[in-house]
C-alpha cells in the first residue's frame, strides 16, 4: 500500500480521522473521507491517470470538477460497474475499485503518438476506402481502439426514481451567489430549491483558503457557508440539495436535476434508489452556476502535472493535497496569483509566475512579489518537457502575440495555468439563447435572460466575491418580488472589497516560432486529442464554421463536452480566420450539463412497471385456467387455453369445435365502450359512421365503420341504441381512446352546437361473449327475466335483465357466425358472471377461447379485424363493405374522399378469400401474392395475405387477403412465393367461408 506522499500535513475539508481504502488499476491506496478519487490519487502521488484517446499519451489530472477531460475511469465491478466516471467527481468510499481502460504503463498503442502525423483530424475520411470489402475490418479496429470505458454486461439491479417538484424559485449552484439568492428568497417565505452538484455547498469558496481575510459578514467563509445552509435548512419551504446537478434547462422553466443518492457511498442500501431524477417546474430560476477556469494552450500542454491554477488551489485548500513540489504558474490574469500564494502558504515552491501581461500590478501581484516569487512578465510557456510527468518548461518573451526571445527552461513538476474564466452559461443556453461575448472579461456571458430566469454571480462575469454575493442577493429578491412576495429588508452578505485588479489580457495560444503544423502538439481538447494544428488543418480544408470544426476535429465532442477547451478552440479558430470571436461564435450548448444515467432518466418506468398491464375483471381466472396471453395495446388478452401438453393447433381446433358445436366463451371486456347521448346524438353519429343511425330502432344493434376524412377505415364496432338519442358504442380494443378523442374533437371543434355527451365506460363493463348453438340454453339457465325466444330476442337486438343475479345488458350479436349473446355486467361482478356461465355451460361442454380462436371463427365468416385485414390504406369499397355505407346519406366523415380519382379507379386491392390448393398448407400471414411466380425480380405483386388459419370446421386451410381487382377474380389462382423458395398456390374466393346465408346466427 502506498503512502499519501502528496498529502499536506494539515488543512482541507477532508476528515483525517476516517481513512478510506480503495483500489486503482489493481493497486491499493488510502485516502480520507471527503476526498474525491482524483484528490486521493493525487495525494498518493499518482500522476498518470489515463491515456489520451487517439495518441495514447499519458495524461494526468487537469481540473478538479466537471471540466476534467483526462481522468475518466471505470468504477465498480460486475453488475455494479459504471463506465466513464470523472475521477474529480467520484467521491471516495471504502472499497472503491476503479480502473482505466488504457494501459498506464507501457502502451503499444503509444505508437500512435509516434505516427501521429498519419492521424490528422478527419484522417479516416481520406482512407480505408479500398479495397471495398475491407472497410468492415478497418472499422472493427477503429471501434476497438475507440470508447473510453466498458459497458456493464449484466443487468442493473439498482433502482431509480423520479420526483416532480414545484417551487417559486429554483437556485442552481450553491456558491456564494446561489446561497445569497436562496437566503433572500427563502426569508421572504417563498418555496425555494437550492441545488449544487458538489458534496457540499460553498462553490468556489471551498477552493479558497478559509481565511479571515475573505470573511463574509464577519465570519470565515466556511463558517458563513455552514450558517447559511443551517438557516436555509431550517426554513419549512426551502429544500437544499447537494450532489444534485441541474443537467438540463427546458422550456417553460422546467429543469431536470439528477441527484446522486448512493454512488458517493458505494451504492444504495436495500430498498433505496441509486439516482433520483427531479423534474422541477419553477416559477423563477436563478442560475448561479459560477465559472470554470480555462487552461492556456502551449506545446505539450497535456503533460501530467500541468493543471488549471484553480484546480491546484482546489486540491490544496479543499483536499489538503499538493500536486507537486515545485510549480510554475502561467497566466494572463490575476486569479492564478492566488494559486501561487496558496502554494506558498502550503509550503511548496513556486519557481516562477509566467505572465503574458506586461508589468503586472495590483494587489495579488504585489503579494506575490512580496512572497518572493519571481515573475516573468510579457512571457509565456511555449513548451513543456517530460513525458510521464512534466519536468520543465521552456519560457519565452512574447510581443504582440509573437515569439520575441526564447528564455529559460525552468524545472518544475507542476504547471498551474490560467487563461481566464468561462462562465457556466450552459443552462442558460439550453433553450435556444445564444451567449454573448464580452471583450473586457474575455469570456462569453449569458445573453438576454430567458423568461422567468436570471443569472447571478461569476456566471455573469462578476468575478469578485463581493459582487457575487450582492448579485445573488439581488436576484433572489427580484425573483420573489416578481411573484408577489415581500423580500425582507437587510443588506446582502458583505465581503471585503477586492484589492486592485489588473485586467485580463486575452491569450489563446503560445507562439512557438513555428507554424502550428510543425510545432509541438498544442492541445485544445484533451479528451479527443484535438490540437491547434488540427483546427488549422480544418480551416485549411475549408471546414470553417465552428460547427464544422467541431465535427471535423471532434473538439468538444467528448464526455466533458468541451468545458475546458472549447473557448480556446473557438478563439484559435477566430484568429485563423481573421475574424472576431463573436463572429466565430460557439457551438450549441445542449443538455446534459454533465452526463445522466439512463437508469435515472427511465426512473420507475422499468421492469414490471415499464408499462401498465391492463387487466379485465376475469384476468385471474384466465391465469388459473392456463391461458397464454396476447398483448393487445396495453391489455393482456387470453390468446388460447392449452390443456396439458396440447399443441397450439390442437387447442385451437378444440376451442373452435366446441364453439361451433356446443358453446364457447370469450372475455370481450377489452373492447372500447362509449356512451353517447343527447338530443343531437342521432345527427352526430350519422356524421361519424358510414352507415345511418337515425332510423335505428331502440333496442337494436348495428355494425358500424368509421373512416378518417381521407376515406380510409380506422375503426369499427357495434352500436346499440339504448334509447332515442342514446347509444352504446363499442370500438376495437386498441382504438378506444382514439375513437373517444375523435368524437370529442368533431363535437367540440366543429359542431359545438350539437347537444351530445360522450362518456367512456370501457372499464365499467365486463363482457362475457357466449357463442355457439348452446348459448341460448346457457343464458336461459342463468336468467329468468329475459325471453330468449328467437322472435322475442332477435338477432342484432339487446335486452336488459338479470344474469346470474346481476343486472346485465345482453346483446344478441355474433362475431363467430353462431348463435351468440354478449353479456355486459358491472365489472365488479364480471368474474362472478363468468364463473356462472362456465357452470351453466358445463353440461354443454362450454370451452373458454381466446383471441386466436376468435380470429379463426370470425375469419371463417369473412368478418374483418380492423388493423389486421385493414392497414390504414383501405376504403370500405376495397373491403367489399358497400353495404355499410348509408345509401341515402349525403355526408359523413370521409365520404367526399371516396370519390377521388385513385379511389374509384381500377387496380385497387380488394378483399377476398383464398383457399390453398393444398388444403393442408396454411399460407403464412404476411405472404405476398403474385400472378406469375416465375416472373423476374422485382416480381409484380398483386396483394397479400392478412389472415390465415387452419380451419377445423372447413377441414382445410383458408386465408383472407387483398388482391388487385380481386372481387372480379373469384375462381382464379394466385401464387405466393415463400422465403424458403417454395410457392403456394391458392384459389381466390369469396371471403365468407362458412354459413354464407347467416342461418346459424339466426336460429
Amino acid at each position: 500500500m502506498s503512502q499519501q506522499t502528496h498529502r499536506l500535513s494539515q488543512g482541507g475539508r477532508i476528515d483525517r480521522g476516517r481513512e478510506i481504502r480503495f483500489t486503482f488499476n489493481g493497486r491499493e491506496y488510502t485516502g480520507y473521507a471527503g476526498d474525491t478519487l482524483a484528490s486521493a490519487l493525487l495525494a498518493n502521488g499518482v500522476s498518470v491517470i489515463g491515456r489520451s484517446f487517439k495518441y495514447h499519451r499519458p495524461r494526468g489530472l487537469v481540473g478538479a470538477g466537471p471540466e476534467e477531460p483526462n481522468a475518466i475511469v471505470q468504477v465498480g465491478l460486475g453488475g455494479q460497474t459504471r463506465p466513464d466516471q470523472r475521477a474529480t467527481q467520484v467521491e471516495l468510499f471504502d472499497g472503491l475499485v476503479a480502473s482505466t481502460s488504457a494501459r498506464l504503463g507501457f502502451d503499444p498503442m503509444g505508437l500512435n503518438n509516434t505516427f501521429s502525423r498519419m492521424l490528422p483530424a478527419g484522417f479516416y475520411y481520406k482512407t480505408f476506402k479500398w479495397p471495398a470489402k475491407s472497410w468492415p475490418s478497418y472499422e472493427k479496429r477503429i471501434r476497438q481502439a475507440a470508447g473510453l470505458g466498458y459497458s456493464p454486461t449484466e443487468p442493473d439491479t439498482d433502482r431509480y426514481d423520479h420526483m416532480n417538484a414545484h417551487c417559486d424559485v429554483l437556485v442552481v449552484g450553491g456558491g456564494p451567489a446561489g446561497l445569497a439568492a436562496a437566503l433572500r428568497a427563502g426569508r421572504a417565505g417563498a418555496r425555494v430549491m437550492l441545488v449544487d452538484e458538489n458534496a457540499e455547498f460553498g462553490g468556489s469558496l471551498l477552493a479558497e483558503r478559509d481565511a479571515q481575510a475573505n470573511a463574509i459578514d464577519d465570519r470565515s467563509p466556511h463558517d458563513w457557508i455552514a450558517a447559511s445552509v443551517a438557516e436555509l435548512s431550517a426554513m419549512q419551504e426551502v429544500r437544499v440539495m447537494t450532489r444534485t446537478t441541474a443537467f438540463g434547462n427546458y422550456d417553460h422553466n422546467f429543469i431536470g436535476l439528477m441527484e446522486d443518492k448512493a454512488d458517493y457511498r458505494g451504492g444504495p442500501g436495500a430498498g433505496e434508489v441509486r439516482h433520483r431524477l427531479w423534474r422541477v417546474r419553477a416559477q423563477r430560476v436563478v442560475l448561479a452556476t459560477g465559472a470554470l477556469e480555462r487552461p492556456l494552450v502551449f506545446g505539450n500542454n497535456d503533460r501530467p502535472g500541468i493543471m488549471t491554477a484553480s484546480a491546484v488551489s482546489t486540491y490544496l485548500n479543499r483536499y489538503g493535497v499538493a500536486p507537486g513540489w515545485r510549480t510554475v504558474v502561467f497566466t494572463n490574469n490575476d486569479s492564478a496569483y492566488q494559486t501561487a500564494l496558496d502554494l506558498k502558504a502550503a509550503g511548496r515552491d513556486v519557481a516562477a509566475i509566467v505572465d503574458i501581461r506586461t508589468n503586472p500590478t495590483g494587489a495579488l501581484a504585489d503579494a506575490a512579489r512580496e512572497a518572493g516569487i519571481p515573475i516573468h512578465d510579457s512571457s509565456a510557456i511555449i513548451k513543456a518537457r517530460g513525458s510521464r510527468r512534466v519536468k520543465s518548461v521552456q519560457i519565452a518573451q512574447v510581443k504582440y502575440g509573437q515569439l520575441a526571445e526564447e528564455g529559460d527552461t525552468i524545472a518544475c513538476d507542476v504547471v498551474a495555468t490560467s487563461g481566464g474564466w468561462s462562465p457556466v452559461v450552459h443552462l442558460h443556453c439550453h433553450i435556444g439563447s445564444k451567449p454573448q461575448w464580452d471583450d473586457e472579461a474575455a469570456c462569453f456571458l449569458p445573453g438576454p435572460d430567458n423568461p422567468g430566469q436570471s443569472s447571478a454571480g461569476s456566471v455573469t462575469g462578476a468575478f469578485s466575491l463581493r459582487k457575487a454575493l450582492s448579485q445573488g442577493f439581488e436576484q433572489g429578491g427580484a425573483a420573489v418580488a416578481e411573484l408577489g412576495f415581500e423580500p425582507t429588508a437587510g443588506a446582502a452578505p458583505s465581503a471585503p472589497a477586492p484589492g486592485t485588479v489588473m485586467p485580463i489580457q486575452p491569450f489563446w495560444i503560445a507562439p512557438t516560432g513555428k507554424p502550428l503544423s510543425r510545432g509541438p502538439k498544442q492541445f485544445v481538447d484533451y479528451q479527443n486529442d484535438t490540437t491547434a494544428a488540427d483546427i488549422a488543418l480544418a480551416v485549411r480544408e475549408g471546414y470553417e464554421s465552428v460547427e464544422h470544426v467541431k465535427r471535423y476535429t471532434a473538439m468538444g465532442f467528448g464526455t466533458d463536452q468541451g468545458k475546458l477547451g472549447n473557448i480556446n478552440g473557438m478563439a484559435i479558430l477566430a484568429s485563423l480566420l481573421d475574424q472576431s470571436i463573436p463572429e466565430t461564435g460557439t457551438t450549441t450548448f445542449r443538455p446534459a450539463y454533465t452526463p445522466v444515467s439512463f437508469g435515472s432518466v427511465a426512473g420507475r418506468t422499468a421492469d414490471h412497471l415499464f408499462d401498465p398491464e391492463r387487466k379485465t375483471a376475469m384476468h385471474d381466472w384466465h391465469v388459473q385456467h392456463g391461458a397464454l396471453f396476447e398483448n393487445v395495446g396495453q391489455w393482456k388478452r387470453p390468446w388460447y387455453y392449452p390443456k396439458d401438453d396440447e399443441s397450439m393447433q390442437a387447442a385451437l381446433d378444440r376451442e373452435c369445435r366446441s364453439t361451433r358445436n356446443g358453446a364457447g366463451v370469450l372475455d370481450a371486456s377489452t373492447l372500447g365502450k362509449i356512451e353517447v347521448h343527447g338530443p343531437d346524438a342521432n345527427r352526430f353519429l350519422d356524421m361519424i359512421y358510414t352507415g345511418g343511425r337515425r332510423k335505428m330502432k331502440t333496442g337494436t344493434c348495428r355494425y358500424g365503420l368509421m373512416l378518417h376524412e381521407d376515406g380510409m377505415i380506422f375503426d369499427d364496432g357495434v352500436t346499440a341504441k339504448l334509447d332515442e338519442n342514446h347509444y352504446y358504442l363499442t370500438t376495437t380494443t386498441g382504438g378506444a381512446a382514439g375513437v373517444l378523442n375523435w368524437l370529442e374533437q368533431w363535437h367540440q371543434t366543429e359542431w359545438p352546437d350539437m347537444d351530445v355527451f360522450f362518456t367512456f365506460v370501457t372499464d365499467q363493463w365486463a363482457t362475457v361473449a357466449v357463442n355457439g348453438p348452446k348459448s341460448r340454453e346457457i343464458l336461459q339457465a342463468l336468467c329468468d327475466d329475459i325471453d330468449f325466444d328467437r322472435e322475442a330476442f332477435a338477432f342484432m337486438t339487446f335486452r336488459e335483465g338479470t344474469v346470474a343475479g346481476v343486472a346485465a345488458r345482453v346483446f344478441r350479436i355474433s362475431f363467430t357466425g353462431e348463435l351468440a349473446f354478449e353479456i355486459n355486467v358491472d365489472a365488479n361482478y364480471g368474474r362472478h358472471v363468468w364463473e356462472a356461465v362456465m357452470a351453466a355451460g358445463a353440461p354443454h361442454g362450454i370451452t373458454p377461447y381466446g383471441t386466436e380462436t376468435m380470429h379463426i371463427l370470425r375469419a371463417e365468416k369473412g368478418f374483418i379485424v380492423a388493423g389486421q385485414d385493414t392497414d390504414g390504406a383501405v376504403t370500405p369499397m376495397d373491403m367489399g363493405m358497400h353495404w355499410a355505407i348509408g345509401k341515402k346519406k349525403d355526408d359523413f366523415i370521409g365520404m367526399r374522399s371516396l370519390s377521388r380519382a385513385d379511389i374509384v379507379g381500377e387496380g385497387r386491392k380488394q378483399y377476398v378469400g383464398l383457399v390453398p390448393t393444398d388444403g393442408s398448407i396454411v399460407l403464412p400471414e404476411g405472404s405476398q401474392l403474385v400472378n406469375d411466380p416465375e416472373a423476374a425480380l422485382p416480381m409484380p405483386m398483386v396483394g397479400h395475405v392478412s389472415s390465415s388459419y387452419h380451419s377445423d370446421t372447413l377441414g382445410h386451410s383458408f386465408a383472407l387477403a387483398v388482391v388487385e381487382d380481386g372481387r372480379s377474380r373469384h375462381g382464379e389462382t394466385v401464387y405466393s412465393p415463400q422465403v424458403d423458395g417454395s410457392v403456394i398456390a391458392a384459389t381466390i374466393t369469396d371471403p365468407v367461408f362458412y354459413d354464407r346465408e347467416g342461418a346459424r346466427q339466426n336460429v
Binding site: 417553460h252 423534474r279 435556444g432 423568461p451 378523442n741 367540440q748 367526399r896 377521388r900 380519382a901
Partner: protein, 93 residues
C-alpha cells in the same frame, strides 16, 4: 417541456395534453360540391408557419376540453390560450 394554461384547469404539464394540429380548419359546408383539389386543400394542406402558430390542444388527461393556443414554433413561447365562445369562468352557472 411546456406548461400549458388550460382555460379551465389552469397551468398543467404538457403531458396532460394532446396536440391537435392547426386551429380553425373549418370543415367545408358541402364537401360534395368541392373539386378534388379544393378537398385536398382542406384535407392535407397546412400553413406550418415558422413563428406564430394558431393551434389546438386538448386537455385530454384533465377536463377533456379542446382549446386554441397561439404559440411561437421557434421559441415555443405561448402567447395566448383561449376557447372561442366560452362563457367566462365563474359565471358558468
Amino acid at each position: 417541456m411546456f406548461q400549458i394554461d388550460c382555460p379551465w384547469c389552469g397551468p398543467r404539464d404538457q403531458q396532460e395534453f394532446a396536440y391537435a394540429g392547426e386551429a380553425a380548419i373549418k370543415r367545408p359546408e358541402n364537401p360534395a360540391s368541392l373539386s378534388d383539389a379544393e378537398w385536398a386543400d382542406y384535407l392535407f394542406m397546412r400553413t406550418n408557419p415558422r413563428g406564430r402558430h394558431h393551434e389546438q390542444w386538448r386537455h385530454v388527461h384533465g377536463c377533456g376540453q379542446f382549446f386554441d393556443v397561439v404559440r411561437d414554433t421557434v421559441t415555443y413561447r405561448i402567447e395566448s390560450v383561449d376557447v372561442p365562445g366560452r362563457p367566462a369562468l365563474g359565471d358558468a352557472s
